[in-house]
Symmetry: C2
Subunit: 505 residues, 2 copies
């Protein structure tokens, strides 16, 4: 009888999963394909499907099945599909049932409506027009937090949605370490900076697209299960492990779009390599945003900004863009794509300054939730911190507070996971390079199969079976996010490029 | 209290409408954007959303509300939103509740799975690989018919889904008229055919796309609420009156794609011009497929194959494709695009032979439902009838029984509506041209606004408020589909082009 109950549970969770993937498509289409006239209706469609998915999942019947199946789950191996589905399903259910379906629908609707407002505000440098939807999103997020028993800090609640079990205090501790050990690197580099001239000229977008597809295909992208499209703010999405959708954007005078594509490839590969047996269940996706970002930042930076990668791809790059790259070589290009320079846009920031952009957002989000300043002042608060952390002035809100899509989507609590991802990526990288000593040689040959397979075997295939900590332990042998490998990696790279000391003073 | 019940009904129907439009997006995406690896999952997503939409609509609660609101509806004007929603909702509910949700889900799943099989079979001229999914679709359609009390003929049931209240016997009567009065035209023309040489050469696809967008924009297409994308088999879709999606296809050596685009524009405009007050209700779409096809065939043929249209657009066409069109002029081009020539592909057939393609399918569909021959023999049955009706041999199944998407989607009963649409389009055209005597002068100026407005006012805005007959009566003053205007129109046009007698002997 337990087997029948398990199958009934599975059937119900499949339905919820189908609705979730349908929402992914509604959102992807909105940001990539939909004529803007469809916006208000799309918001209703997202609200309706979101409400139904929430009602189906939080139903008493699902709760009863999970309860009834508790012992059945315990009787199975911890990492079996059965035990994992019941364990993760119960945890999700306990959390989701605290949130009324109407609030879920309101959040989905507001987020969809805000998207176009944000696009227009960003394009027109018009924070005032974005303010009302930001306020709505913030209020909804506060109502969401009120659904839970707040322990130490309200921010813990939103953080947990993206990084299960992670606490604000722990993030603060990690970020304090970065302030102490990473921020000084930027100053050290500034003292050693030679005058590295950046490649300049036209990078025609059609050729960028062609080149980045060559890179993506070498990484593992294929037309059978992947798409790549332009959008306003790059993201990765899809409707299942066999339908992965990357998005990117292009600039006519630089190759930032290529790095965005490699970043999104990392997200896409994680979803693509989840064990197919987990499909149509809540286990069929990455375990957390931090772990997800570890994958995107890994392919963007540890692979895509490595010397070995460019030893292979630079000759081809030069062939595609002979004008801007005349007189360059792989070594010089490697230095260029790793140049450290405080800058305004997070997604285009170098590795040394990137985490500082995150720390700023982490602090502002907590301040917004605590109403520490009137929301009208957000641009000033933003600009002040950019000056404080990066020493540069923000010329307009388009390149300041309006640059990121997240707050338009109500995703407060998401940003820290980028920095956590950076830290995790270096922890994993130390393990990968120890296991695969010829990895860089393979990159120089344009081969990325060993890395892809290693990641599938040690991380991707597990999907959401385990907690983030358990998953990290399976990959690197420790349950804790450790900031040291990342700072170590960064210092060694910058020592190589800028000649700063390879170990901290 | 009735007002509150009405609002509750409206809310529930909005939810069902949102789910329906979500299914439209899932299907559009599958045929236009999705990597093929997503196919099996997409089938599950369509099945799940389809089942939920069906369950929500056929719920006892909706039935109770409709019942309770019967008098409330009668108290309102017949053409009010309230009366129409209750009247149409009740009729839909009575019909839908006879069909189990699981059968609905099975149909949605089978249709989605069959799509890729059909694409591959068509590409590889491999009917055998299509046979199993065709059999499944046919069996599902028979199970569907069994949900109803079959009156005169089983085909009445499937026909009613696309053309409410239409009977197979009535279609047969209309088609017999066409056999008697339209088929001879083809023979008369053959006797008068001069050797009109068709334009030949390269029509680069990028330029085709540019030209057809110019035409579509002149018709009323804009980027705010419309999209146009390539696909395997053209169709029109969308997620609401403000998000209209046309699809088309291109051939490198002819402009058939342009006519497909004008055809789909006609469908799109109908949906675009439905009264926005009907949005998110079952009234917010075209009243029937026959009426829909009257719109697509009107823009494709009565507009897009008219001399006035080409007097405006031909100089531009020649500018875009100077090579193939050297030495042509508008009058000669008008004759070319109206050339009568029995041919294999329905969507590319001229107006004189088009309905014969439909009659063949109408007869085959009835034969399939009645198991009149083993399904393996379908290609032979197809080819035999093409010979009989059109006097040509079918060289392969790709250009024969595999050419259309409909049977892969399980849409049996759909085809007759194309011919009904042709007939209705001529009925409407006689009314339009009487009301707007300067219509062709406007076409010659590249202006289509009066036609668009006339159609909105007399037809489009009503959406699905009335029955097809009631709607027809509002547009042309009679409830009956009349084949005479179409045959009259055709004979006059062919008299002009081929010099056959302008009235039948």
């Amino acid at each position: 009888v337990s087997r029948a109950s398990f199958e009934e549970l599975q059937r119900r969770l499949q339905e919820v999963s189908d609705l979730g993937k349908t929402m992914s498509l509604l959102a992807w289409d909105q940001q990539v394909m939909m004529p803007r006239g469809g916006g208000p209706l799309r918001a209703e469609q997202l609200a309706t499907v979101g409400r139904i998915a929430h009602e189906k999942f939080t139903s008493a019947e699902v709760g009863r099945l999970l309860d009834e199946l508790h012992d059945f789950g315990e009787q199975h191996e911890y990492d079996s599909f059965e035990a994992s589905l019941i364990r993760v399903g119960s945890r999700d259910w306990d959390k989701a049932r605290r949130v009324p379906a109407e609030l879920r629908a309101d959040i989905a609707r507001a987020s969809a409506l805000a998207n176009q407002v944000w696009i227009d505000a960003r394009e027109n440098n018009d924070f005032a027009s974005f303010l009302p939807v930001l306020r709505t999103n913030l209020d909804l997020r506060k109502r969401y937090i009120e659904c839970f028993d707040v322990g130490d800090e309200p921010y813990d609640i939103v953080l947990d949605d993206f990084e299960r079990d992670m606490k604000t205090a722990e993030v603060r501790r990690l970020f304090d370490y970065l302030k102490e050990h990473q921020a000084p690197l930027v100053k050290e580099v500034a003292a050693h900076a030679d005058e590295l001239e950046q490649a300049s000229g036209e990078f025609p977008i059609a050729l960028q697209r062609q080149f980045e597809l060559e890179v993506a295909r070498a990484f593992g992208f294929d037309d059978q299960c992947w798409r790549l499209d332009p959008t306003v703010h790059p993201f990765a999405s899809g409707t299942g492990t066999t339908d992965i959708r990357l998005t990117t954007r292009y600039f006519p005078h630089n190759l930032d779009g290529l790095f965005a594509t490699m970043h999104e490839f990392g997200h896409g590969l994680y979803e693509r390599q989840v064990d197919p047996a987990l499909e149509r269940s809540p286990l069929a996706r990455g375990v957390s945003l931090g772990m997800h970002e570890s994958q995107s930042r890994m392919w963007e930076n540890l692979v895509g900004r490595s010397l070995a990668f460019w030893r292979h791809f630079f000759p081809r790059l030069q062939q595609v863009f002979p004008g801007p790259l005349a007189g360059h070589d792989a070594d010089r290009w490697y230095r260029e794509v790793n140049a450290v320079q405080p800058s305004l846009i997070r997604v285009e920031a170098d590795e040394a300054t990137y985490n500082l952009h995150i720390i700023l957002r982490f602090e502002l989000e907590q301040a917004m939730l605590a109403d520490e300043f009137p929301l009208e002042q957000l641009p000033e608060e933003w600009n002040r911190r950019i000056w404080e952390y990066l020493g540069i002035e923000v010329p307009d809100d388009t390149r300041g507070v309006l640059q990121d899509v997240h707050w338009s989507g109500g995703s407060i609590g998401y940003f820290p996971t980028y920095a956590l991802g950076n830290l995790i990526s270096a922890q994993i990288w130390e393990k990968v390079t120890a296991d695969l000593p010829s990895l860089y040689d393979e990159f120089e040959q344009g081969e990325f199969g060993s890395l892809r397979d290693w990641l599938r075997e040690h991380l991707h295939r597990h999907g959401r079976k385990f907690t983030p900590s358990e998953t990290l332990e399976r990959v690197v042998g420790t349950t804790q996010i450790d900031p040291e490998p990342y700072v170590r990696y960064l210092r060694e790279k910058l020592a190589d490029i800028y000649g700063i000391a390879a170990t901290a003073a």
